[in-house]
């Protein structure tokens, strides 16, 4: 795939369908605008976390609490889900419905797995008495991760809806365009996660 052929960031529409490009141009640009809005939201949550990280109010610190092994597994699961979505996008581009559904299903399982791992981590922390009410540091930790986790949950619901729509409508233009926007969303969440493990988990272990 050459660069000139790519008319939109993140778009993998089939080249033989110019009407797809026209239709997608407006909605995809709007979706990028939304994603940038969301990126600023996360940026401010990161800034808040960074200003709160030492405000433990006598409670436990990140170094005492975080399980780096779990964070690593979470990272890999989310990365794999990003990849599997990409493979789904390749199938979509070829117009092959069955593999598309398969890859979407794999992505869904990985996404739910990620949420499960995160909930297990939260349960473990709460079991040690480290709740969101313990300190400003933990408040910002839980909120940052929960907002990201909620995004992943929304992504999972969206995948289920798209699986249903592929079954109902086939690969109509509308459905294709929606799956591609879902893809942008999903990859975006992995990008946010890179910043999370870099600013939350790794400094806690490294210091």
């Amino acid at each position: 795939m050459t660069t000139e052929m790519r008319h939109h960031p993140g778009i993998n529409l089939s080249h033989s369908r110019p009407e797809d490009e026209r239709h997608a141009e407006v909605t995809v640009f709007g979706f990028w605008t939304f994603l940038m809005n969301d990126a600023i939201l996360f940026a401010l949550l990161f800034a808040t976390y960074a200003t709160m990280v030492n405000r433990t109010a006598g409670g436990p610190t990140g170094a005492e609490l975080f399980d780096i092994g779990n964070a690593f597994v979470e990272t890999l699961v989310l990365l794999l889900s990003s990849f599997s979505f990409g493979m789904g996008a390749v199938a979509l581009k070829e117009g092959r419905e069955h593999p598309l559904k398969l890859w979407l299903g794999v992505t869904l399982v990985l996404g739910l797995g990620f949420i499960g791992l995160e909930l297990r981590e939260f349960a473990g922390l709460i079991g040690q008495g480290a709740t969101a009410q313990t300190s400003g540091f933990l408040s910002s930790f839980y909120v940052l991760l929960s907002i990201h986790g909620l995004h992943v949950l929304v992504g999972c619901i969206w995948i289920v809806v798209m699986l249903a729509q592929v079954s109902t409508f086939g690969l109509s233009r509308q459905v294709r365009s929606r799956i591609l926007r879902l893809g942008l969303f999903w990859h975006f969440l992995d990008l946010v996660w890179i910043v999370i493990f870099t600013t939350v988990y790794l400094p806690a272990v490294a210091s």
């Binding site: 795939m1 401010l44 990409g86 117009g95 870099t198």
Partner: protein, 118 residues
Amino acid sequence: MSGPWEGEHQGHAITQPSSDAKAEARSYLWGLGLAALLTALAFGLAVFKIFSGPALFAAIGVLALAQIAAQFRFFLHIDLSRQKREDLQLILFTGLLILIMVGGSLWIMASLDQRMMG
């Protein structure tokens, strides 16, 4: 006039040249490999502390930026080579504003912390 719901997939069985799809899949594989490598490096540096202090944090930060760039390139198919796209300008402008907001916040709050607690 074609409505947005026209299901033109039926009777439109296009079979893409598979070389194209393979190149596409290869791009995702590259992305996966690169991201996994950068992730492993970052976690490895933090856990095994081959070096420490500010250098370690800087290295982790650089690895994160590299991974973001890699995912932009291979997963989102965005790089700097394409000209004249509002989307790219939008992303770069967002990057600038994140820099201003986060950098400014950290500067302001660090200054306050230092003066009020230190």
